[in-house]
């Protein structure tokens, strides 16, 4: 049985961004962290639209929801910096298609282009220690 990993820490700065059309949702959030100097962060709020949405499935495949526009109606996630010098966002959520029907799952990095706008609020996470 693996040990639980518990990280203690505190919240730091808060950033808000508007990310423009044709930028990727996941990579855009990673670049936002680089722009603001955040190394780790949690999503505090997000909404916007995608041209088409691509959500991962358990078998390593994906589902694609065609727009435009596919509305982001729920989003949660975090951004973590890795020991290899990279920044990695893991975002999960629910989207609504052009008929209002909903689909959910993890957003696949590189395959979720923003349609009109994406508004996101990130709160910086300052880890103190890993127990």
């Amino acid at each position: 049985m693996s040990e639980a990993i518990v990280e203690t820490g505190s919240m730091g700065r808060v950033a808000y961004a508007r990310i423009a059309p044709n930028e990727d949702l996941v990579l855009g959030v990673e670049k936002l962290c680089i722009a603001e100097g955040f190394r780790n962060a949690f999503v505090r709020g997000a909404l916007g639209s995608l041209t088409d949405a691509c959500l991962g499935t358990q078998d390593g495949k994906f589902i694609q929801i065609k727009g435009p526009a596919v509305e982001i109606v729920s989003l949660a996630g975090e951004v973590r910096s890795g020991s290899d010098g990279s920044m990695r966002a893991a975002l999960t959520g629910v989207v609504a298609d052009t008929d209002g029907n909903v689909h959910g799952g993890p957003f696949v990095a590189g395959s979720n282009p923003i349609c009109m706008t994406f508004e996101v609020t990130l709160e910086e996470w300052l880890p103190a220690s890993v127990l």
Partner: protein
């Protein structure tokens, strides 16, 4: 150093790059940060509109810019719209006419509070909902046409105190959008 190569039998879809009607803005991420956020737990008042029940208590606290999470609850009535392609071509998409969802359960919502172009507070809200018919839907919520049901609905507010969110015309997409601005807090 070893070169790793991975292959997949299911290539990911090629993202589509859409051509918007206006001039391309080379700044793709407009962002600002504050030193810290204030957090508030708010209960939406039964019988009032989502707009009133969110904006008025926050203004009373001096909060004009915020990102909020609506933690689920019943609405006596709710209207929303979705965003199919704009048949006129003025923008890439256009919101549909309001869809009446009736007595609705909001599963989860996010709402951004900022300043509208008309000088009034603006609430931009997207949510997943269960409509009166039982269908689970999602879209852009019309906050002034949606009425909080009989039970107060909790909201977590993350206040943005050192800058403003202002609605401004965006030439590239040809629609008004919320954007962060450094400026006077009390205008």
């Amino acid at each position: 150093m070893a070169v790793m190569q991975t292959t997949s039998t299911t290539p990911l879809p090629r993202p589509r790059t859409l051509i918007h009607p206006g001039r391309f803005n080379p700044v793709r991420i407009q962002s600002l940060h504050a030193r810290s956020a204030r957090h508030v737990r708010l209960l939406l008042t039964p019988g009032r509109s989502l707009y009133q029940s969110l904006v008025e208590p926050l203004l009373a606290l001096g909060i004009r810019n915020a990102s909020t999470t609506i933690l689920g609850g019943y609405f006596a009535r709710l209207q929303y719209c979705v965003a199919p392609p704009d048949p006129t071509g003025q923008a890439v998409i256009a919101y549909t006419r309001p869809i009446d969802a009736g007595s609705t359960y909001m599963v989860f919502g996010n709402a951004t509070l900022g300043l509208g172009m008309n000088g009034r507070p603006l609430v931009h809200c997207h949510a997943a909902i269960r409509t009166e018919s039982g269908a689970v839907k999602g879209g852009h919520i019309l906050t002034e046409a949606s009425t909080v049901g009989p039970t107060p609905i909790p909201v977590l507010v993350t206040s943005l105190d050192e800058f403003e969110l202002r609605q401004a015309y965006d030439p590239e997409t040809n629609i008004p959008l919320l954007q962060p601005h450094k400026g006077d807090r009390h205008v």
